[in-house]
Amino acid sequence: MLMRVHARPIASALPLRIALLVLWTLLGGAARAQLPAAKAMQAYNMAQMDMKSKKYDAAIKGFESAINVLGPLVREEPRYRPAVEFSTYNIPICQLQKKDLDEAVNGFRKYITNYPDGQFFRVAHVLWADIRASQGKWKEVIDVVFKVKDDRALTAQERLVIFQLWGEAHFNLEQYKEALEPLQWVFRNGPTMNTRIEAAVLLAVCLTRLGEFDKLYEFVPKLYKTSAKFDLRLQMALLEEGDTKYDDGEVTRALLLYRLVYYKSQLVTELNKKITEAKRQHAILTRREADDPQLGTQARQLERILQTLDEQLKQLAEIPDYDAQLTIRLANCYFDLDRHLEALKLYRSIYDDNPSHPLAQQALYRAFTAAFAMRDIERALAEAYHALDAFPGGEFWETLTVNVAIIHNERKEYEKCIAICERALKVKPDHGLADNMVYLKGYSQFMLSRLEAAMTTFELIFEKYPKSSFLQPAQYWHALGFLYIPIYTPAREEFQEFLSRYTIGALVEDASYRVGVALYGEGKFGEVADVMRRFIGKYPDSILKSEAHAMLADVLASDGQLDEAVENYRLALPPAVNMVQVDYAMMQHARTLELEQKYEDIIALWRQYLITYSEMANYTEALYWIGNSQRNLGRLEEALNTFYEGIVKYGDDARGYGVDSMVMDLKAEFNELPDITASDFQASTEDADRVLMVSNLRDRLRQELAAAGQARKQTLQLRLATLFAETSRDVAVRQSMANTVMTDANIPRSAPVTLAFMGREAVQRNNLAFANKVYDYFLEEHRNSDLVLEALRGKAETLLKQNQTEAAAGLLQELVNRFAMSEQAAWAFLRLGEIELQRNNLAAAQTAFETLLSVKEWRGESWAEALYQLGLVHMARKEWDEAFVIFERNYVLYSGFPRWAARSFLKAAECQERTQRPAEAVKVLEMMLQTELVNEQAEAAEARKRLAELKPS
């Protein structure tokens, strides 16, 4: 703020006064003083001319001379007073022009002292204050201003300058509160926009410093439409106060201040513009000052502005680049206020504007956190990957990779989780959170059923991070891996080891239960019962309590303790936390009752189940059990009605798997119908009743098939079409129905029973592509169906036909894991063994065949084939004797399966030949050709040929 007033135009008053003096001289005057006074007046006049010609020293001399001579005469000759007063005033004016500022101030003081009623009294104050302002002597400025600020005689211009200086002085003394009154006055009363805006800047700084936000925002919108907004004092005040407010937790206020701050780059540009403009104006004023001395004040004002601007520019140069910091602070405010989208955009802009900025990494990381806080996980992942790609191995690599891995894990995106874990460790082998990454990788592998890979990964934690907090869960999952493979003994041992190490936590509870499961797998049922009883006692609130009761019941049932088993199935229901647990207990309970042929109890059990669990219940399964029990009780009509109602009511729900069971049963019923019409039967016979009832049902279901088509119940329609396609005796009808069912469009509409039919038909028609589609959809959508076994086998067979052994092996493994005791599992073990044999993985092949041979229930052709294959494994190892023993055992024990016996004979003979025992080989071949049925096999020709070679005579 600089002086904004011009000295009262002295020259304008002069002609009149000179004329008076001349007149006074002409009239004679005091004779005593006349001569020196006249000379003094001449000197005075000369001084004024010198002043105009900028000869200030001469002018001062002239004025002093006038004062010296005329001063003492004033009392007697008052006519000299004006000249003396003007001289007293003009001396400091000249000194001011000479830049003798202190002298000028002394001169003004002298004038003020001598002429308290003088016409320059107020302007002398103004100039005094103005000089001290230009010297930065602000306290003196205030003292001076206070002498006149309330003087009513001040002109508007003088008042304006007085208030400007007053405000500026307090401002510069950081007395912001005191500065408010004068600055507000100038803002309200300033005659020009520039004057008002200049005041507004200072006012805004004061209000900012004082935290007077309400008043501040009265000015800011107006101020920000002018270039005054680039004032560095204002900008620094906003920034500093913003920091203070943020640190004090006043985030909204900090935000309001930060928002107004300009970036350094913008300020430098704008300050340079203002300096150029001020210099241009200063040059004009300086040129014109000679013609109009009053412009000197304006020039001084501009000089001070230029000085301020230069200082600001220098200060700005010394401030480190704060642009990105400012953006971060703004973004932090938005983040803290839960306005994450704005935060994200600001963080992101730092990187986008300058990817190599030192804060760019932090900014991208924060962008990720903002997106995450928005719960926009897709965006969070995109930001995270962007950050990872932009700064591989960077400052936030570890935190980001772990977070990304956790997100993928929670979203069950296990492949992606594994990929990020591997990438994280590859880029930064000394990853600070490596144990976490390894654990997440292992967990994901486990969830993808890559059990062996998962276990290997968990072993890494055992070896490399034995002190990690992930050791405990890694050990748990490792043991569970064994359980799921399934290799029960090491699983049990590891769980027991786990329980000896740890005593508390959810995993301990879980492991306590898993020990029992492993023991069950080992066939140690007695121990299972003990473990489960202990578990139930120790963890009465466990979510596994229901499963523990069910397993205990399973064990008891297998031991023939059916009543106790049934009791435990009942006990499994109240603690059940989900319907899976309820349905398992129900199913096992029903099966146990079925063993005892307690069909009424089964019906009552399922009816109670439907009442208790109502809308959560598996209706179709319950109805199937009820219908099946009714049939077993000989109440066929009731049973068929139950099936009919079940099919019609729930048949359009593809996940109503009980309907599939009903369809399968009805398929058997329909296929048993004699190939005659019902009317051919005698109505009195039981068979006739049965045929009639089944025929009636068939007719009703035919009608339902038509109705389902009209009602667009496509799943029901396809289920019924499947039933009739599979039971029709008319090949053309069957073919036509099958063709109707087997379309791509029908795949997603079909229930498992239809899909299984489609798959079988496709394989039969050698349409493997369609079979693949069907099975893929089945396995994707209906893994909980009882018919999934057929899908797994069908898909595996299809893959084997296409030589995709790797994929087939995966499905076969799943089949044996999930349906360990089924006939299909025996078939799967055989195929798995074959695959391993082909790969020359002889140990794995041997394990597969020996596993099959360990299951008594599979005794029969499966064993015969397994033994033959086992013999081949030994032959591959050139263990001829061991192989011979196995082949011999096979054709001795399993001659009832001539296909495998014949092959075993041939291989046994070959083993004898390989051990240079041709006579023994001949004996084997002769025995083969003498064995009934075996000698009818295709292999017999080969045997004869070989025998002829061995016995040429």
């Binding site: 020009t192 925002y217 002018t226 909204t252 935060a343 802009s349 936390v577 309820v582």
Partner: protein
């Protein structure tokens, strides 16, 4: 090349009477591309020729439009007064002067000139005064005459869009927006552009995109006191719709200052009780849902998983008490 014709003034004026619609001539300095300049009174343009009267000689002259680099008009009003009025939000005063004085100059906007900034002030003032038809007409005049590449043309198109939004014709804006050049984040017109895009997206119920555009203004146009207040208000409404009540409240509180002395300040104040009301209703709804869930759980034959039950309760309570996350 320039041609200077010396014809009787009356005849000259007669010749261009059809082309000159301005009524009376405007004083200006014509600055040619070859740096020469003439002090003239502009009469009009006909057939690619600028017609004028030389001020010093009172003779007629014309020159091909292509030779003119700039027309520096003698501004026919007190520039300082207009700027002061506009800056201090006294749009009515600014508009009254500009609407009256600028009319004859609309015909010369195709030239580079010193009048265009005032035309833009007129358009903005009319928009802020809710004189949408007038603002639209002013914008149209700019669009008809100012080359498309000029930022003023972009701003005029955006003002037009806003007028269309304000008069319920948002659908018409799509074509205009599509024809705009790429607008840089730091461009002066960026806030209007984002605001207009947000309005357009709202007409198609694309709240996600609308939110993105409003967030652009809030994040990057903090010093724009024209567009920040409506953007903040819209942002508060978005948060309210998403049940982030505390954030909506915070924005409204912020607007007491950030939108001071604007109509948006009052709108924000009016929104506060609605937020409170909806917050209570939402909490009540959540509480009822929680109670219903608890009742259902109590009726269920299944025992609740203690861990899941705890987290579900926590989550419901959190939603009920915070409601804004």
């Amino acid at each position: 090349m320039n041609r200077l014709l010396r014809l009787p003034l009356a005849l000259f004026l007669g010749l261009i009477s059809l082309a000159s619609l301005a009524g009376r001539a405007q004083e200006a300095t014509v600055i040619f591309k070859d740096k020469r300049s003439w002090e003239v009174e502009i009469v009009g343009v006909k057939d690619g020729v600028l017609k004028m009267v030389m001020k010093n000689s009172n003779t007629e002259a014309d020159t091909p439009v292509g030779d003119v680099a700039f027309l520096r008009f003698v501004i026919p009003f007190d520039e300082n007064e207009v700027m002061k009025n506009y800056t201090f939000g006294e749009y009515e005063k600014a508009e009254a002067v500009l609407a009256d004085k600028l009319r004859p100059y609309f015909f010369h906007l195709a030239f580079e000139n010193n009048i265009l900034p005032y035309v833009m002030i007129l358009a903005r003032s009319q928009y802020w005064l809710n004189k949408f038809a007038e603002a639209n007409a002013t914008a149209d005049r700019v669009l008809r005459t100012v080359p498309k590449e000029r930022p003023e043309a972009t701003e005029a198109a955006l003002i037009k869009c806003l007028c269309l939004h304000a008069t319920g014709r948002s659908a018409d804006t799509e074509r205009i927006m599509a024809g705009l050049p790429t607008i840089d984040r730091d461009a002066e017109v960026a806030p209007i552009y984002w605001y207009s895009l947000a309005r357009l997206h709202l007409t198609t119920n694309n709240v996600v995109q609308a939110t993105e555009n409003i967030a652009n203004i809030v994040a990057f146009a903090g010093k724009d006191f024209d567009w920040m207040p409506p953007a903040l208000y819209q942002s508060a409404e978005f948060h309210l719709a998403a049940h982030r009540f505390d954030v909506a409240t915070q924005i409204c509180q912020e607007m007491k200052l950030a939108a001071k002395d604007t109509p948006w300040q009052q709108k924000a104040l009016d929104l506060l009780p609605r937020i409170e009301q909806e917050k209570k209703a939402h909490e009540l709804r959540l509480r009822r849902e929680a109670e219903a869930l608890a009742a259902k759980a109590a009726r269920s034959p299944l025992r609740r998983n203690p861990a899941e039950a705890a987290s579900a309760t926590e989550s419901l309570l959190k939603d009920a008490t915070e409601g804004n996350r």
